[in-house]
Structures are given as structure tokens and as C-alpha cells.
């Protein structure tokens, strides 16, 4: 019939029409049986043909495989796990075999890709890919999580949990839900219209203004802390709280401000001039570091036990000798600088003090022989006659030395009058050791009598440094030591070296000063002189 021809024409091009053919066939079946019988055969043929052709079309894109391939659409990847028969491989030409295999696999992959959703982007059809599923190693390690903040650490240590608070709070007076904090919040004490004046307060005080002021202060403090936190996080150094501008500033604050200002130059204050009487700042640099409150328990326990042990032990807490010597050294040093400046001014000399000259007690005293006679011009000078053996104690100045004669006289003399002995001195260490033994023995006896401590040490040193006199001299010296010294003092009150005079005046309160100074920080600058360790 005519419509069958038409349908045939369409079948080759539009598969949808095939379905319509089915409908027509069904419709056609009922009313016109004779016609449809005839048509049925041809329709069935048609349908069979249509099916065949559809299969053929699908065949063109369908591939038969034993195992399904695994797809990773995100990477456009397909994995074929089927066995490849080596027989087939060797039969055909390699390239053709590989080509056909590739074609099959690619067809399956394309089928899979075409199942994904597509969209039209600027007149181009684009298929959206899912995320890649095959795990591949990263190029670089993942970034580390940020370190916990100070609060987070503290909260963790204390076991503080984060509690979620509601944003709104019921306000009884206003009978509505108000914010917990912020604009128009529930409990705003600055907005109260009635404030009870407490009994202890001044009646003329403005309580409202007081509250407003307190609030402003809290806000300012909060802001300041925030900035400090930022500075700490970014490791920017800011001056401490003590440098905020104030009406009245104490001496401490002013000095701290000065030091901060000094170090705020490009060279961190290295080339800043100092005022004539200005002292170097004391507490610059590292301040004491305190252990945290809740730290290492074992170490804390250890420290406390050690402390108790120390407290228990019978050893004296204060090493008197050490303290005394330290004090004396300090005083001498100060005095020497003062004296030297004065001397420099007096005699018009260059203040070129040798390092050795500062210390009065020298282990290596030199024995010299007088070659020229000398008559003293000043009260603190010695009379020299040729042939005397003189012990040079210090070479303060180049031409003017301080020494001691054999009869015990001490004083200054010109260096040109003396000449070195060719004798070999005792080794310095032995000297020092003998000195230390002597001096400690002496000191232990006269621990309290600060007055004579100085003298003892002086004598002990002189005795020991003599060396040649030997043990007898040393032993005998004990009894003598006091007397010559004591005797000397009234004998030569004036020719005494200027340095020791202030010493005399100072000595009564020496121990007091030492004990008071005990708690102060020592300024032990530079290397300690080995000569004083024995003391």
C-alpha cells in the first residue's frame, strides 16, 4: 500500500519513525483485517529490517569485551584488564593488532564520556568532567595547619570547652530579645537612667560620667592589647607600657624613655654620646626569665629539693672573704679612676693608664736593686740608697713606681734609680697558692675585724712574694704581720700612699656595706683576674 512505501522511505533516516510504524501497525490491525494481513507481512519485514539496521548502527559503536573497562573520566583514562592472547598478537601484524585494540578501547571510552552531562558554552558543546578518581602522589607536601594561638593553648591546657552562646538574650526591662553584645545590647550599664550612689562614694561624683569613663578605658585597653598581640605575632618590637605619655613621670620611667630613645637610631644607639655624668643603663638586655606556672613538674620538684638541701646544710650562705674582696675591688676601682683623672689634671699627663696599674695587688712583684741614690721630693716618696733591694709593687706610671724597701718602708720612686735583678723569681702559681693559703687563714681568723682585713691581705701578699725568705719568714710573719702594719700606721701616717688613706676611713663600715650589697646584682665585667680567685 501507498503508506508502506512512504514509511520505507523514512525508516532509513529517522529511527523515531520506526516507533510510529508500530503504532500504525497496531491501529491498522483492528479495523481492516484483510488489508492488514497483507500489510502485516510487509510490516513485519519492515520492522525486522528496522531492528537490524538499528542493531547495525549500535553495532558500529558497541564493542564486545570479556571484562568491562575501568574508566576515570576526570583524567580521560581507561584501563583494559582483558587478557591479550599472544597468539593473536603474533598472527597479525603488530601494528594492526595494536590499532584494532586501541580502536575498541577508545570507542568504549568515548561512549562513557558521551554519557556525561554537556552544556553549551559560547556556541561550543562542552562536556563536564567529574573530579579525577585515580590517586596520584602530590608534588609537594600538604601545607601545615596553623599553630594554635596562645589562648587556644591555654584553653587546651586548662580544659576549657568552647560553649556556643545564643546571639539574643531576653531583656526583662524592655521585654524583648536583645543582642548579647553590640549595638543596643541587653545589659548596657552606660545607658541606665538610674544609678544608686554607693555609700562609700563621694556624693558630688558624677556616677554616669564615671561609668562612661570606665567604659572608654576598657575600650582603649582592649585596643592596646589587640595591637600588642599583632605586634607579638609579627615579631615587631614595641616599647613597653611605661612609655605612654603621662603628666608626672618618675625617674625610672624617664630613664627608661631615654634609653629607648637612644636605641631607636639606625645603629641601635652605638654611636650616641653620653652625658658627662650619665651611667650605662643597667637592665638592658635579657631580663629574668621565669618558669611557667604549670610547667615541668619534675624539674620544679628537683629545684625545690635542692633549695631545701642548701638551706639545711651547715655551710655559711655568705662567703665573707669573697664578698669582702669584691667590695674592696669595686671601691678601689672607682677610686683609681677618680684619682687618675685628678692626677691627669694635676700633672698634665695623658691619662694612659696601663691595665696592670689599676690593680694594686700584684702577684708578680719585681725585685730591683737601687743604683742611684734618691732624695724624696714629695711626702709619699722613698729615700733610696744604692745597693738597696726594693720590691716594685706597681708601675702606675711610666717613670714613677711604687715599691717597698726591705725595712718595710713604702713609697714612690723614680724608675731610673732602679735596675732589675737577674735572679729567677718563684713561679707565679706557687706564689699565688701560698698567698691564698696565707690570706684565707688570716681572713678566717679575723673575719669580723674588717678593719684589719685589708692589712692582713697586704701583708700576706708581701710576705709570700718575698719568697726568698722561705718558710721561717712566712711563719714568723704571722706575729709580725699585725704589728708592722699597726706600727706602721702610726709611724707613717702621712707618707702612706694616698690610696690607702680613704681605705682607713672606709674600713669600719666595710662589712656592713658588703652585707647590704649582697642582694644587689654584681657587675662582674670582663674576665676575672686570676690573682684574686684565691682570696
Amino acid at each position: 500500500p501507498w503508506w508502506s512505501l512512504v514509511v520505507l522511505h523514512h525508516i532509513n533516516y529517522d529511527p523515531e519513525v520506526v516507533q510510529r510504524v508500530f503504532l500504525y501497525s497496531h491501529v491498522g490491525h483492528d479495523p481492516l483485517t484483510s488489508l492488514t494481513n497483507m500489510a502485516a507481512c510487509s510490516v513485519e519485514e519492515l520492522l525486522a529490517k528496522a531492528e537490524q539496521e538499528e542493531a547495525a548502527k549500535l553495532k558500529s559503536i558497541s564493542v564486545q569485551k570479556e571484562l568491562d573497562l575501568e574508566f576515570d573520566i576526570g583524567n580521560l583514562l581507561a584501563c583494559d584488564r582483558n587478557r591479550i592472547e599472544s597468539r593473536d598478537f603474533r598472527q597479525q601484524k603488530k601494528e594492526d593488532f595494536l590499532l584494532s585494540l586501541a580502536r575498541d578501547n577508545t570507542q568504549l571510552l568515548i561512549n562513557e564520556i558521551w554519557k556525561q552531562p554537556t552544556e553549551r558554552v559560547e556556541e561550543v558543546i562542552v562536556v563536564k568532567l567529574a573530579a579525577p578518581t585515580t590517586p596520584l602522589p602530590r608534588e609537594k607536601p600538604p601545607p601545615k595547619p596553623r599553630p594554635p594561638t596562645k589562648w587556644e593553648e591555654f584553653a587546651k591546657l586548662k580544659g576549657i570547652q568552647k560553649k556556643k552562646k545564643t546571639n539574643l538574650v531576653w531583656d526583662e526591662t524592655a521585654k524583648e530579645w536583645k543582642r548579647r553584645w553590640g549595638y543596643k545590647r541587653a545589659k548596657d550599664d552606660t545607658k541606665e537612667w538610674l544609678i544608686e550612689v554607693p555609700e562609700s562614694a563621694d556624693p558630688s561624683e558624677d556616677q554616669f560620667a564615671k561609668r562612661v569613663k570606665a567604659k572608654k578605658e576598657r575600650v582603649a585597653k582592649n585596643e592596646f592589647n589587640r595591637l600588642k598581640n599583632i605586634a607579638r605575632a609579627q615579631k615587631v618590637k614595641v616599647p613597653g607600657m611605661g612609655l605612654t605619655p603621662k603628666a608626672q613621670q618618675s625617674k625610672d620611667e624617664l630613664s627608661r624613655a631615654v634609653s629607648v630613645a637612644k636605641t631607636s637610631t639606625a645603629s641601635v644607639g652605638r654611636f650616641q654620646d653620653r652625658l658627662p655624668k650619665e651611667k650605662a643603663p643597667k637592665n638592658t638586655g635579657k631580663r629574668r626569665k621565669f618558669e611557667p606556672l604549670i610547667g615541668d613538674f619534675s624539674s620544679e620538684r628537683q629545684k625545690q629539693l635542692e633549695l631545701l638541701k642548701v638551706m639545711d646544710s651547715k655551710r655559711p650562705k655568705l662567703d665573707v672573704t669573697k664578698a669582702v674582696n669584691k667590695q674592696m675591688r669595686e671601691e678601689d676601682r672607682e677610686e683609681a679612676t677618680a684619682k687618675h683623672k685628678k692626677a691627669a689634671g694635676k700633672r698634665g699627663r695623658r691619662g694612659n693608664m696601663s691595665g696592670k696599674g689599676r690593680y694594686r695587688y700584684r702577684a708578680e712583684a719585681e725585685k730591683m736593686v737601687v743604683v742611684h741614690s734618691y732624695r724624696p721630693n714629695w711626702p709619699d716618696e722613698l729615700e733610696l740608697s744604692p745597693g738597696d733591694v726594693i720590691l716594685v709593687l706597681s708601675k702606675h706610671e711610666e717613670e714613677r713606681w711604687f715599691g717597698r724597701l726591705q725595712d718595710g718602708q713604702r713609697g714612690y720612686f723614680p724608675a731610673s734609680c732602679v735596675m732589675e735583678l737577674s735572679q729567677v723569681n718563684l713561679p707565679a702559681k706557687a706564689l699565688r697558692r701560698s698567698l691564698s693559703v696565707r690570706s684565707s687563714a688570716c681572713n678566717n681568723d679575723s673575719g669580723v675585724r674588717g678593719r684589719h682585713v685589708n692589712g692582713h691581705i697586704l701583708q700576706a701578699r708581701w710576705r709570700g712574694s718575698r719568697g726568698g725568705s722561705g718558710g721561717a719568714g712566712l711563719d714568723g710573719g704571722q706575729g709580725e704581720s699585725e704589728s708592722p702594719f699597726l706600727a706602721q700606721r702610726p709611724q707613717i701616717p702621712l707618707p702612706q700612699p694616698v690610696a690607702s688613706q680613704p681605705q682607713m676611713h672606709r674600713s669600719p663600715g666595710l662589712l656592713h656595706r658588703i652585707l647590704s650589697k649582697c642582694r644587689k646584682k654584681t657587675e662582674c665585667q670582663g674576665a676575672t683576674n686570676g690573682a684574686f680567685e684565691g682570696d
Partner: protein, 275 residues
């Protein structure tokens, strides 16, 4: 990073150039020879990777003992993770196959065939390395017409065959096109030589993803066995007498009762308005 070793043959140089052409915008080919042995001392490789910020490298060399040698490798955190040495047995270069090529920069499709790529551990690592090497940049969408380039790897009888094809999308009756392939690119016949694979824990460490990349779970969504999506809606307590439901005509009360109800109904209505 594509670099040459102390001694290279013509095959190797040509092979390196071809692979560079395959990977064009995302690779760097060094012209100078580097006298190093990656399997013995990999410090210079690490130095180069730090300089160029590349984590994949290809090192070509030629000795009497190992002719036509290619070392594929990758680095993690600028330290060598995996290195696999492949020897070239047969090589056909790009220039020898005279057909029109794909434009450079196209994302290739990768197909791996053969059981060895799943069973043998070394082949598995090799597969992962080759995927890493040859896949292009990760994109979210791809133009359908631009799916042209295919790299096909076959593991067979201890050898690995790499072929590069261009696919032509032919019309088929349905939406999905039919594929026809034609060979374009370089074809290699590799044989697996030495390997230097990372230990298991280093490999695992290299796979660690940061927490941020994990897909975020959406709350209040659950799925049942059939795939239906469920969620919970939270409501306040409702006054069921005031619900507005569909009015079923048959359930309505009769005339007399209705009048009484109307009267009752009106009074509360009025009260409501007032309040």
C-alpha cells in the same frame, strides 16, 4: 623536565624531542648534557627541579650497557619518589609518520591495556607514573570536538608498547560517534629495566591530602537504599484545629449543625480582629 645524559644517541635525542612536542607548553627541554647518573646520585636532579619547580623528569642517555635508555621519574617535595628506566627497542618518530597532527596542548586520552598493569607492582607504579606524566592539566570541562589525541599503552610479553593515535569522530546513527583511529605520533617499544620505587610509607605520605580538599559533608541529607534523598524539617508545634486542609464536600456537616457552627465561627472571628 626533559634532559640528556653524558652520552646520547640520535634515537634518544629524537625521542626526547618528540616527547617534548607531546607535552609542549608544560615541559622544558634542556639542550646541554648533564653528566650524572640518576640511579646513583640524584642531587643534581633535585636541584634542577627546585630551580624550575618541576616534579616530573625524563632523562635520556645511551651507553654500551644500556642502549637508548629513558628514565621517567617524579619527585615529591623536591626529593626523588620514583624512577623507572625504560629501554627503547623500536622507535618511530613523529617526522617519519607523515600525517596531520593534533594541535599541541590538547588533553590526551589515555588507555592502558594488558593484565600486567594490574597484577605486577612495578607495572602498576609505571602506570601511575605514565598517567602522571602524560595527562595534561586537570580541567573541569572538555570540548567534545577537541577529544582527538589518544595514547595507548599495551603491556605484553614483558614489553610495553606505546602508540599515539588521532581519533576521528565519525557519524553513527546515534548520538555517540564512531571512532576511527589513525596513527600520528611517536611509537615506542619499551622494555622495563631498572626501577627505583619509593617505599610504601613515603608513597602513602605523598598521597596525603589536606583536610580542606575533602568534600564537605552537607548536614541533614540522607539517602535510603533506593537513592531517595531525605531531609528533616523542624517546625514549631501546630494547632491542629486551625490547619487549612482540603475541604472534602462529603465530610461537611448538615444544614442545621452548620448554622450553629457558623454562628460560633463568627464570634471568635470578630474577637480576633479586635485583638
Amino acid at each position: 623536565m626533559i634532559m640528556k645524559g653524558g652520552n646520547t644517541s640520535q634515537t634518544i635525542t629524537q625521542a626526547l624531542k618528540d616527547i617534548y612536542a607531546l607535552k609542549k607548553p608544560n615541559a622544558v627541554l634542556y639542550k646541554k648534557k648533564n653528566i650524572t647518573r640518576p640511579f646513583e646520585d640524584s642531587t643534581s636532579l633535585e636541584f634542577f627541579s627546585k630551580k624550575t619547580d618541576c616534579s616530573l623528569f625524563l632523562f635520556g642517555s645511551h651507553n654500551k650497557k644500556r642502549p637508548n635508555n629513558l628514565i621517567f621519574g617524579r619527585l615529591f617535595d623536591f626529593h626523588v619518589l620514583d624512577m623507572i628506566e625504560l629501554g627503547i627497542e623500536k622507535y618511530v618518530s613523529l617526522s617519519e609518520i607523515k600525517t596531520s597532527k593534533c594541535p599541541e596542548g590538547t588533553k590526551p586520552m589515555l588507555v592502558f591495556a594488558g593484565e600486567a598493569f594490574d597484577t605486577d607492582s612495578e607495572h602498576r607504579r609505571l602506570k601511575s607514573l605514565l598517567i602522571d606524566f602524560f595527562r595534561g592539566p586537570t580541567v573541569s570541562a572538555v570540548r567534545l570536538a577537541g577529544l582527538e589525541h589518544i595514547l595507548h599503552f599495551t603491556a605484553l610479553e614483558g614489553k610495553i608498547y606505546m602508540r599515539s593515535y588521532r581519533c576521528l569522530l565519525k557519524k553513527s546513527g546515534c548520538r555517540t560517534p564512531r571512532i576511527e583511529l589513525e596513527e600520528i605520533g611517536p611509537s615506542f617499544d619499551f622494555v622495563l629495566r631498572r626501577t627505583h620505587l619509593a617505599s610504601d610509607d613515603l608513597y602513602k605520605l605523598a598521597h596525603r591530602q589536606p583536610k580542606a580538599l575533602k568534600p564537605k559533608k552537607k548536614k541533614n541529607i540522607s539517602h535510603d537504599a533506593f537513592g531517595t534523598k531525605f531531609g528533616r524539617v523542624h517546625m514549631q508545634k501546630q494547632d491542629l484545629s486551625k490547619l487549612h486542609t482540603r475541604k472534602m464536600k462529603g465530610l461537611r456537616k448538615r444544614r442545621g449543625e452548620e448554622v450553629a457552627e457558623d454562628q460560633d465561627g463568627q464570634a471568635p472571628k470578630v474577637a480576633k480582629l479586635e485583638s
